[in-house]
Symmetry: C2
Subunit: 447 residues, 2 copies
Amino acid sequence: LRVREALRAPEPVEQVKVQGWVRSVRSQKEVLFLHINDGSSLESLQIIADPSLENRDLTFGSAVEVQGKLVKSPHKMQNMELKAETIRVVGPCDTLVCHCSRSPTDRTTLEMDFKMSKCAAKHAQTEVSLMFSLFQDNGYVHIHTPVITSNDCEGAGELFQIGVSNEAKESAEKTHFFNVPAFLTVSGQLHLEVMAGAFTHVFTFGPTFRAENSQSRRHLAEFYMVEAELSFTESLQDIMQVMEDLFKTVTSTVLSKCPHDVELFHKYVAPGKQRSLPRKMGLFFPSSCSISYSEAVEILKQASQAFTFKPEWGCDLQTEHEKYLVKHCGEVPVFVINYPYDLKPFYMRDNEDGPQHTVAAVDLLVPGVGELCGGSLREERLPFLESRLQRLGLADTYQWYLDLRKFGSVPHGGFGMGFERYLQYILGVDNIKDVIPFPRFSHSCLL
Amino acid sequence: LRVREALRAPEPVEQVKVQGWVRSVRSQKEVLFLHINDGSSLESLQIIADPSLENRDLTFGSAVEVQGKLVKSPHKMQNMELKAETIRVVGPCDTLVCHCSRSPTDRTTLEMDFKMSKCAAKHAQTEVSLMFSLFQDNGYVHIHTPVITSNDCEGAGELFQIGVSNEAKESAEKTHFFNVPAFLTVSGQLHLEVMAGAFTHVFTFGPTFRAENSQSRRHLAEFYMVEAELSFTESLQDIMQVMEDLFKTVTSTVLSKCPHDVELFHKYVAPGKQRSLPRKMGLFFPSSCSISYSEAVEILKQASQAFTFKPEWGCDLQTEHEKYLVKHCGEVPVFVINYPYDLKPFYMRDNEDGPQHTVAAVDLLVPGVGELCGGSLREERLPFLESRLQRLGLADTYQWYLDLRKFGSVPHGGFGMGFERYLQYILGVDNIKDVIPFPRFSHSCLL
């Protein structure tokens, strides 16, 4: 029986076996209390045993197998408890070595960390399922875009390159494994665009990479992105509508399905850094809350706040700017649209406006996190794309991309959402490294 | 309206708009016939139009937007058709350039390829959903294991190594981005083992990599694996039961849900290479169909067939051997268990038998594909693991792994299944490169 099932059992059960790890041991004269957990529930199961069953291996962290009777608990706080007949320690845990540097208060922190990381992992699972369902219910086809790619997508230059590990072998052969230089993908977008030419609506959910030498609370070198691409789409508003639906539906479902988890997180966010619950943000999301980049720059220029980076038309919005804009709009998610042409990658659709020349791009900024999603209409007009790629010296590299505009091209667009940033947002976690079990960032690749 | 919805509409609709790509154009004196598809269905929608609506851009492959009335079709083969009022070509397709080298027969092949690749993409989606549901319904927690890792897992030496793309920058800094050498993961197993110590039952579905210089029909340099890890498991049979449930449930669900797709694939598999439908294999899967490695070697030695590689106890089973074993057992999936100790990686559990010393490993061989899954009990006993790692000179590298055996260690095991191989199996596709849109293998990394 899993702990979750034991806790929820409607009736007493004569003979059960529960396996898990000891979360607390309290020995009294007449009775031995244990709490064990197996990861199936945030709550632990209370075990009542005869003190004769205690042994020196029965410590915090040890793995045990308990057999006995599942009975109604006399305490209000829990439904069932387990009267142990046998307790077998299958894996001891030397607490002296394990926690020697930790005081009893630290033990609570440890327990809290444990609950929170479990919670984060389960959340990731919930959110992924919700996103998949939402896309699939709306007729999107899921595509596995590749991790290894020979194109560098945005020409951003923050790429990881791939070689074979046996360097001698590589230099002996004097060739690349793939014949061409290969990189870790920074986005599945270009591949999604290919597939959107067959399926109309497609999405992907996969790992993406940035070789940014950043120690920020918002950046990882390896992170997941959910990306969608929509053929036959001529308006940025349509793309924003899909972004908003995704954001709103998943957020409100999570908040209504797992309020305890979310509260747990918010409760343990360091005091002072605590911010208003996303519950409020999730349900309040006026669709009109969108401003143009030019308006955003004006708002920033008129701000009383002194920025480290002076806001100037043509420059990227910095984190401090994003935070100000979100605050200015009332701590709700904010769409910023129509960014300067020269700031954005070649594939974004020229708005042909001027003299402040822009492209049909959109970023979604959210409280506490800043930029969460980015999207655009893609330039579907061959002459525009050709001349831009030629000016950038990329026309040969992206010949295949130009070909997509020659044979049954359609107006289209799409967006990507950083998955860990979304988790960070919904859980109110300050540092993105705390929402996943094995974070990768510069100077760190544990295990 | 999507094509799928149009085809399935229960009633005529006065005014609809359908967007898609032209799959055929047939112009007659009195009427213009088109078929258009938008990827939502394998069937295309028939459009009936006045010949005056024809224009030179209306060719095979072009993208169109058709407005008109959806009416009942007089033909038996289809339910609804669309009487066009306007046809707008949004993206022309120059068929002379696109298909100049293709004869009309090739056109059919092209159409077939198109259907098959669409089908494969949709299948991948179906199978992924089924696997996720199956695991989650059984209480498994989904874990994102990292792509970038500092451990080389099996010490197999067929790894891709990661550098930053700007080589000058790298050599200038004289350091690795992650401070340690980093690789693309070959398996999420070791990370899953960590998480199985918190959640008991975990699974992952993610990309894995092999730098094998292989051009075989069964190998890719980048492929997806579904992997599961189960704590509190002391028997290889329990692991095999989970493997079998996964295989059987997904296979039978797919065959009952999408019989048309599977038939389409089997119909177009090159004659001569066609093999018995997995329908048969999927439903027949006697759980007793398991043999030991030693028995397998005996069967191979007594075979009348001449093998390129002579079967010998202690050597790996080759593809030809796997095929023979599957045939010998009646073209059904076959478990082979208890492989030689010296053949397998350090983490597999010592059976302590002899003199033919084995570990508790299992491979699942299936018709047409050979090895589909591999699993094992993991060595949970610290002294066994320590001495093995010391002999291999890996004790320092895997200190963290040894630590897992010190603090609440439990008997556990797990397995991995190659996802594209599974698609290859269920669709009866001869070459693994045909089941995914962007295959990566040695000397090839398109786009």
